[in-house]
């Protein structure tokens, strides 16, 4: 670190303090947000952090500054956080930042208008990011990472400040999304419910009035929740909303949405084009799609096994696994078509033996009973129209539309 003169140190600190006071007095949320954005690594903040590390008596400067002394509860811990962040003490930085944030929220509560929403959002973001980093530090030193949880409860408090009536409510969805991120990361998604209820049941605020960015994020996460619940229609709605409203330039975001939307669509019988998978680097789905097209059970199972960890982590494994029935359906349809070419009059009678043989070709070792069971399930779930004659071991297909398409409806349970 280059040597910094005391005068320079004073100048930097005073500059920051003045900037802070000016932003508050002129109600400039953007400038205030920049001053709070710890992880932005902006040069001015970095130099301030260096200055603070040289000059240990910044508190006195804050107290002396008549404009900023009233914000001492915000700035003092913020400086400490900045110092620690610069030095890499992330846990300490988090602690100080949370303290500062608490004081800020207290202040924010008192501000009538919502001018400082931007700054509050920066705080919500920073505290989450900082908590994640602090948790990483804690985990590496063998301690239990709990800061993200703490950040979650802090953001819940912030949400409470925003969720009421009035102009501040427009900022509530941003905090909600940060909360989602935390809950999904922690695996405590059940905590989302209360927040969602608060957002969706409030009639006083139209959902469409929230900023688009927040709406997209919100729909993405709630869509994911619906995927967990295997509520494919709702998941499709939400994720499609997110996709259509997402900024087209943000390919990473589109990819994240598609990651869930594709399995949902597959479950509804809608297959993506391969160019889509290529464009958004979702090739893990390509074999799944191919298996669906071909009725290749082996391919599906391989694809699932190959990407098992990935699918399990993203939570789509069970969804994809359920595609098996569609693959069976496809396989039966293929057999049916081949039979029809040979002997149209007998085409609607599929012998169980033939199906078992076909599965054998796919290296699926299943005996008659098991395949019979699958056939009854296919009929039961209305993927195949017809009936199974137990005595003769034959699947008798309906002559009209024996393999109904899903056409956007989920497989009946």
């Amino acid at each position: 670190m280059a040597y910094i003169s005391m005068g320079e140190v004073h100048r930097r600190i005073t500059e920051y303090l003045n900037g802070f006071a000016d932003a508050v007095s002129s109600q400039d949320g953007g400038s205030l947000a920049r001053l709070l954005s710890l992880s932005s690594n902006s040069p001015s903040l970095l130099s301030l952090a260096d200055a603070l590390n040289v000059f240990q008596d910044a508190n006195r400067l804050i107290k002396q500054s008549d404009k900023c002394s009233q914000f001492a509860e915000i700035i003092v811990p913020l400086f400490r956080s900045l110092q620690n962040y610069r030095l890499g003490n992330l846990v300490d930085a988090y602690h100080a930042f949370e303290k500062s944030s608490n004081a800020f929220v207290q202040e924010f509560r008192n501000w009538e208008s919502a001018w400082a929403l931007e700054a509050l959002h920066v705080i919500a973001y920073e505290i989450r990011v900082l908590a994640e980093k602090a948790d990483r530090e804690l985990a590496s030193s063998g301690k239990s990472p709990e800061k993200l949880k703490g950040a979650g409860s802090f953001l819940m408090k912030v949400f409470g400040v925003l969720a009421g009536k009035g102009p501040k409510r427009v900022g509530a969805l941003y905090v909600t999304c940060q909360l989602f991120k935390i809950y999904f990361k922690l695996g405590t998604v059940h905590l989302c419910r209360s927040v969602i209820r608060s957002i969706e049941t409030a009639r006083i605020f139209d959902f469409e009035e929230f900023p688009r960015r927040d709406k997209v994020t919100y729909m993405y996460y709630t869509g994911r929740l619906e995927v967990f619940n295997e509520n494919f229609t709702a998941a499709d709605d939400k994720l499609s909303y997110a996709l259509t409203h997402c900024n087209l330039l943000k390919e990473a975001n589109i990819r994240m949405i598609l990651k869930y939307l594709i399995p949902v669509k597959l479950s509804l019988g809608i297959l993506p084009k391969s160019c889509l998978l290529e464009k958004y680097d979702l090739l893990e789905y390509s074999n799944v799609v191919l298996a669906l097209k071909r009725g290749d059970l082996r391919l599906l199972r391989r694809a699932l096994q190959e990407h098992e960890d990935q699918f399990l982590r993203s939570g789509v494994y069970l969804v994809l696994e359920k595609l098996e029935l569609q693959v069976y359906q496809r396989l039966l349809k293929k057999i049916y078509i081949i039979q029809k070419q040979k002997d149209p009059s007998k085409a609607h009678q599929l012998k169980l033996e033939i199906i078992v043989k076909a599965l054998k070709w796919l290296e699926m070792d299943m005996d008659l009973d098991e395949v019979e069971c699958i056939m009854t399930i296919l009929i039961y779930k209305n993927l195949v129209k017809g009936y199974f004659a137990h005595k003769s071991k034959v699947v008798v297909l309906s002559k009209q539309d024996p393999f109904p398409k899903l056409n956007g409806k989920p497989v009946s349970s």
Partner: protein, 1024 residues
């Protein structure tokens, strides 16, 4: 005369002060202003001031002051009473802390009623208060006299209540107000009755019943607590005071006199019983009857009468005169003291006002008088018995009279009675200790009650302060802290105080500056209340004071009334009216009152130096009290929160009543602590309560291990918002038990208190116990019981290495299909495995998987369970089996499921067992949809696991036939249509069955949903 009457009423007691103020208001609002200031001024001192003021007000005081007073009074009515009471509390506490406390409790109840009134219209409120007080007194008197009478009194109270309801209306119109007063009075009276009952029986039941019958649970709760704390002596005093009051009222003394009376009100009440005859002729007769002992009263009454004419200075003189009189005759003195201290005076005075005021009061008066008469005879004896305490209480009144600071009063008390500590809490404790064994517990409660009152008063003051906001807060805070610490008897208390204060301060800062201001006033008192009883009383008082502070009489009435379905419809209607009409007005009044308070304070300063003193006194006296009050106020917030506050207050009061009763019953400190701990559990929900509880534990600090642990728990919980420090302070290691029990066999009993080392088995004994259980031939219930007790012992000793217990128990539970018990073990095992303890990790992760798949149906949890499986785990046979089962279940593949079922490793079968029925039903309904026309039952039997899937050899044939029969039976019970084909083989008619299948109710279903609770099992459990 009206004014005088009002004054006289106010004179009756602290309430009287408010009453007086109100009266003054009624007469002339200008006068009221003085009153309020005086009332608010000092709880103890305020009384003096009030008295003085009231005198002046009667002469022509401002209504505002009365309002403040009233509000303060409410909380402080108690405070007013406190005024006298508080004086008593501060000063008199030492003398008869019990009495003082009792008075306070009484006051508190009164205050609440009075508060609303005061809020509605200061002048009117004052009147109302007076009315209320009167009713209360009368009620209390009867109650005090006899519990039986208490019932009749309750009716009276109900009448009063109706009156009170009218009162709210009266906010708009004064007439209504009187009614309100009556109602409020009624409430207080109920509290009195409770007290009396407690005195008589000292039982919880009594408390609860009286309270409920006459007053809402809330008021009763507060009262009860106060009552509990207060011993019969106090009641007696009250009764006497009543009588005195009556006499005084007859005299229609000047407000000042009334105030004096008020201070003596409790005494009067006591007197009334004694004077019973006097009650009937309330004024004249009472005086005569009093003459010996009462002479003091009468003299006081005379003095009071003089007082009205006289100004503030006179009041002090009167008080001083009273003191001398006290000195002259101890018993009388006692009575006097009580009267001065307590509400009784106030009540009496209200009665008088009522009489004077022809309106509703007359009827009520009549009733009251009659009641009083009846009560009086009974009461006198009690009063006399408690005369000694009364004497102590008298001293406090004296202090108020001088309008000295509470400190002074305390000093005075000290002088008079060594027992009476300079500080109220100390005095209370001392009195408790010294005191009457019987009353000891009760006394503290009373003290606490008085505290609340003072708090209430303080609140108004605080509100005023908040309005003013100047430098007072820091000072008050400092003073508060100092006082709180000073009040601590020992180091543990001090530490507790410090912790509490930190919490309080942090909370206050978080809440806002107002809070901090309030805190200043409030916190001190709670801390000082070291004794459990005090704590309880504090809570109760706080709760009572809170509602009062909120000031919405309607609220109180609502809350009180609503809980009491028995109350008369008239009352309800009245309450409703009050609510609607009063709320708005009250709220405004409150806000106004706050401002006026400040103004009043100023006016007090201007007009009455004494008022300031009184304020100061109140502050000092109420410091401890204030904390709770403030918190409540803060939490409840402002007027908007009234509804909540009232409910809270109700609850609190109930709790307090419960506590008080419990306290009364519990002679041993341990019992008290235990009860408190239990009650704390209930309190956790509400911050206020929790805080209160915290206070209690801290105070208890000196107690035994149990208490300490309990307090630690409470502290940890309470401190969660305040900061983590307190939690960190808890030394869990110190709390960990090291068992000494050598018994191998031990029945499980869910702990309701900290574990006793002598009943906890050390690790080596537990190992033997585990072996014993494993080799035992007894039934599952016995084993489960034993294993649970082993687990409990492990837990309390924090032994974390003995996996086999949990695994053994988990397996045992699985074998017996006891999922709840299994889940308990599994969750513990999860933690242990995560800590790196090996055990049979794989086996149990398979169980866990199966459990999630088959029984929770939580996709998210299943996913995370699967994602958590290591590569190694996926190779494990049991885990692989579990995963295969999962796949079968999710696809509905019943064939695969039952194949897996047949070859399940470990206890996977047991878990699958629990799912078999569902799977079979699903399979059959699937078959009924898919198969046409029929399926052979033998196939179904084979596929659905009734028979072995691979028939081979003769043995299996036999099994198959068994399985076939079972399958037929199962299908029939599920509504399947079976037909025999040409070969005589049973066939499942799919189409017919598709509409007739159903899931039969399980045979072992129990109405209460838990088969384990079935009688047979229970008997088996107890016999084994």
């Amino acid at each position: 005369m009206m004014n005088q009457g009002g004054n006289t009423q106010t004179v009756a007691a602290l309430d009287p002060s408010s009453v007086e103020n109100r009266y003054v208001v009624g007469a002339s609002q200008a006068q009221t202003s003085f009153y309020p200031s005086s009332v608010t001024g000092t709880d103890p001192a305020s009384w003096n001031v009030h008295r003085v003021e009231s005198h002046s007000t009667e002469n022509g005081n401002t209504s505002n002051s009365t309002y403040h007073h009233v509000q303060h009074m409410d909380p402080s009515t108690r405070t007013v009473q406190d005024g006298t009471n508080s004086a008593a509390v501060a000063s008199s506490s030492s003398l008869g802390t019990a009495n003082v406390q009792q008075d306070y409790s009484n006051y508190a109840s009164y205050p609440s009623s009075t508060d609303p009134y005061g809020y509605g219209s200061t002048g009117y409120p004052g009147y109302y208060n007076g009315y209320q007080q009167q009713p209360n007194h009368s009620y209390s008197q009867p109650v005090g006299a006899y519990q039986n009478t208490g019932a009749p009194y309750q009716p009276l109270s109900s009448f009063q209540n109706t009156g009170s309801y009218a009162g709210p209306a009266s906010y708009t119109s004064t007439y209504y107000n009187p009614g309100d007063y009556q109602t409020t009075g009624g409430y207080p009276s109920s509290s009195y009755s409770h007290q009396t009952t407690t005195w008589n029986e000292g039982n919880y039941a009594n408390y609860s019943t009286p309270q409920y019958s006459s007053y809402a649970s809330d008021t009763t709760g507060a009262y009860a607590s106060g009552n509990l704390a207060t011993t019969s002596l106090q009641y007696q005093q009250h009764y006497k005071q009543w009588a005195d009051y009556c006499n005084q009222t007859e005299v229609s003394c000047a407000p000042g006199t009334e105030n004096l009376n008020v201070s003596t009100a409790s005494n009067q009440v006591c007197q009334v019983p004694g004077v019973s005859g006097g009650y009937t002729t309330s004024n004249s007769q009472n005086t005569p009857s009093f003459t010996p002992s009462w002479r003091l009263d009468s003299s006081s009454s005379q003095v009071s009468s003089q007082m009205p004419s006289q100004t503030l200075p006179q009041a002090p003189s009167q008080t001083s005169s009273l003191q001398p009189s006290v000195a002259v005759s101890g018993a009388y003195d006692n009575y006097w003291k009580h009267g001065t201290l307590s509400f009784q005076n106030q009540q009496v005075s209200p009665m008088q006002p009522h009489f004077q005021k022809p309106l509703e009061p007359k009827t009520s008066y009549d009733n009251f008088q009659e009641q009083q008469k009846t009560a009086c005879p009974q009461v006198p004896n009690l009063q006399y018995a408690s005369s000694h305490q009364a004497a102590q209480s008298y001293q406090p009144p004296l202090q108020p009279v001088p309008s000295l600071d509470s400190r002074r009063t305390s000093k005075l008390q000290i002088q008079t009675n060594p027992r009476i500590a300079s500080n109220l809490p100390l005095g209370l404790q001392k009195t408790d200790k010294d005191g009457s064994n019987n009353n000891a517990a009760a006394k503290p409660a009373y003290i606490s009650v008085s505290f609340p009152v003072s708090n209430e008063k303080v609140l108004p003051n605080n509100a005023a302060d908040s309005v003013l906001k100047p430098s007072t807060f820091p000072k008050s805070l400092r003073g508060y802290v100092e006082r709180a610490l000073a009040s601590c008897k020992d180091d543990t208390q001090k530490a507790a105080c410090q912790a509490i204060m930190k919490e309080i301060i942090t909370k206050a800062t978080a809440d806002g500056t107002l809070c901090t201001r309030d805190w200043d006033n409030e916190p001190l008192f709670p801390l000082p209340n070291a004794d459990v009883v005090n704590k309880d009383t504090l809570q109760s008082s706080i709760s009572a004071s809170l509602p009062k502070y909120k000031r919405s009489p309607s609220r109180r009435s609502k809350s009180r009334w609503e809980p009491l379905p028995e109350e008369k419809s008239v009352d309800k209607l009245a309450s409703v009216n009050n609510d609607t009409a009063k709320f708005g007005s009250w709220i405004h009044a409150n806000e106004k009152d706050k401002k006026p308070v400040s103004a009043n304070l100023e006016s007090k300063n201007d007009g009455l130096g004494a008022t300031r003193f009184s304020l100061m006194e109140q502050k000092s006296a109420t410091k401890t009290f204030r904390r709770p009050v403030k918190r409540q106020c803060l939490i409840d917030g402002n007027a908007a929160d009234n509804g909540d506050a009232s409910s809270d207050s109700d609850k609190d009061q109930n709790l307090t009543a419960y506590y008080s009763s419990a306290i009364a019953l519990a002679d041993s400190p341990e019992e008290r602590k235990r009860r408190e701990n239990r009650s704390k559990r209930f309190d956790k929900g509400q911050g206020n309560r929790a805080e209160i509880n915290h206070f209690k534990p801290k105070n208890i600090g000196t107690g035994n291990l149990y208490a300490r642990r309990a307090s630690a728990m409470v502290l940890s919980k309470s401190f969660e918002d305040g900061g983590s420090r307190a939690v960190e302070d808890i030394d869990w290691d110190a709390l960990t038990v090291k068992g000494t029990c050598q018994e191998i066999e031990k029945r499980y009993l869910r702990l309701t208190s900290a574990p006793d080392p002598s009943t906890v088995r050390p690790e080596e004994v537990l190992e033997k116990a585990l072996l014993m259980v494993q080799n035992s031939q007894k039934n599952y219930l016995y084993k489960c019981d034993q294993l649970k007790s082993i687990r409990q012992d492990l837990t309390v000793q924090r032994i974390r290495n003995q996996l086999t217990v949990y695994e053994t128990h988990a397996r045992l539970a699985l074998e017996n299909g006891d999922l709840p018990e299994y889940n308990q073990c599994q969750s513990q095992l999860k933690i242990l495995y995560a800590e790196g303890i090996e055990g049979c990790h794989m086996e149990f992760s398979a169980y866990n998987l199966l459990c999630v798949i088959l029984h929770s149906n939580n996709k998210r949890e299943l996913l995370s369970s699967m994602a958590r499986l290591s590569e190694e785990a996926k190779k494990d046979k049991a885990v692989q089996h579990a995963l295969a089962v999962r796949a079968a279940v999710s696809s509905g593949n019943y064939v695969l499921f039952f194949r897996l079922y047949k070859r399940a490793p470990n206890l996977n079968t047991c878990l699958m067992d629990l799912f078999v029925e569902k799977m079979r039903y699903k399979a059959v309904s699937c078959m009924s949809r898919s198969y046409r026309p029929t399926v052979s039952v033998s196939y179904i039997s084979q596929v659905l696991g009734f028979a072995s899937s691979v028939p081979s050899g003769e043995e299996s044939d036999e099994k198959d036939s068994d399985g076939l029969e079972e399958c037929v039976e199962w299908l029939k019970t599920h509504g399947a249509c079976l037909v025999a084909d040409s070969n005589g083989e049973m066939q499942f008619d799919a189409k017919a069955s598709s509409s007739s299948l159903y899931m039969p109710e399980p045979d072992d279903a129990v109405a209460h949903g838990d088969a384990n609770l079935a009688v047979n099992d229970f008997l088996a459990r107890t016999s084994s």
